[in-house]
Amino acid sequence: MIGFIDQIDQLLSFAMCGIAGLYLKNPDLFSSLGKLFKPMLIEMTSRGPDSAGIAIYRNPVAAGNTKFSLAHDSTEYDWASLAKALDAELKGSSSITRIDTHALLISDGDESHVKHWLSNYDATVRLVGSGNSVEIYKETGLPEDVYARFNLEGAAGQHMIGHTRMATESAVTSAGSHPFATGADLCLVHNGSLSNHNRLREELKRKGVSFGSENDSEVAAAYLTWKLRQGIPLKQALEDALKDLDGFFTFCIGTSDGFAVVRDPIACKHAVMAETDDWVAMATEFRAIATLPGADTARIWEPKPATVYAWGNESVNAQMEAPIQSSVEAPSAGATH
């Protein structure tokens, strides 16, 4: 019976989940990022009404600091005590800000040390992202409501990626929602379903990678994390993923200053991209892009199967060719793929 249900899940997955990404080229639009991205995410509600998640890149922290996105089931969680305990342990300095069920922790401690400490401090606290500028927010509920909970409409910045989820492979939980962090300032959203995620999860666990859910997309994120940890460039890691991941997928990977897109070798899942002088956007369907200014005259195309596309500033291209850097480069206009 489980096999049958799995098959139904696979079939249903053809209609499930929506993703969207927006990268602004025109600095005049930076202050409107949250406003421009909102209708993109909401338009994807019919593809994924049960949860939503957003990664926004903004307010990079000072050198030597790391920004951690944390989440808890309760909106009343005592984050101040967590920060105090962290400072006592590391003899460092940190600040923490509550945003609904999430909190942003900025610490001058060593990133891996802080992560290790967090995993031991309280098992009910989830680390959902970390890096120099990335902030990840994800919750169950309608995308419109999730967007409002985290006050994203007024958000300024250069780029955001988002996901609307209709769960097929695991439970509807905040932990099972996208984006999934894949390393410093990197995160992944996935549209599709993976068929070899159980075996791959076991293999990655043996290599020391930890998991927070039974979600198949988290396995893809963990796979990339594992690759990047070895110093493999993002582009190579994505090309390796094309060989090692079995199933249907369109991935959008948020990087410190842009995003990358890759589809499975038969382009099973929908994806469309569009570009104007002012912005680059990708989405599961064009209707999510249609609300952007100038969308009707934008250059519009479908990303080719098994091809890695990347958009962003120069450091994104460096990231695509060299091991991941944790520093944030000064913005400079440019787009390549």
Binding site: H270, A290, T291, I300
Partner: protein, 227 residues
Amino acid sequence: MNSLDLQTLGLRAINQKLQSLEAKTNEREWTITNPMGQHAIACGLTVPIEITVDGHAGFYCAGMNQEATVTINGHAGVGVAENMMSGLVRVKGNASQSAGATAHGGLLVIEGDASSRCGISMKGIDIVVGGSVGHMSGFMAQLGHMVICGDAGEALGDSIYEAKLYVAGSVESLGADCIEKEMTDDHMNTLAGLLEKAGINKDAHSFRRYGSARKLYNFDIDKADAY
């Protein structure tokens, strides 16, 4: 000319209006503005009216069409003219995956490129693509013609039945049981007629024809190894 603003009226109201028109209606020309990539625009039409979708359409535009002429002044999403029975659908831009899927009749003209699986399981429709098509086009195509003025992607005509495929450019690879076939004068005339009907100025002599080797779709015990 009647104009319908999709953002103001909504999809359901527009489709209901168009679907309720009678064959003898005097309101024969309609323009749908602000399509904004919405799905199922101008679906299920049954009378010979002329619809212009002024912008980019989403999935399944002009699906199940009978008799109507639908022109999309932009790109079309997945499954444009899917299961069309008759009439004419013209996409001025590019079309996404599975254009003309399972369609029984009529003519689909895509002036730009079509993505993967164009004409999948086509059952009698004629499809003319001004540009190129993506991988797995003509998959399990049963009947009708697909004319590709540009190139064809991987696995063209995989598991094809009796549809006829004409390609002017290169073919990245042929799918299982799809082979190049002889182009007779009859084929040349049919092809020239389709190009003319589609309004695409291209010499029929520049095309090659592909179709079924007929080794897969009839079970033959002597060819069991091929299944």
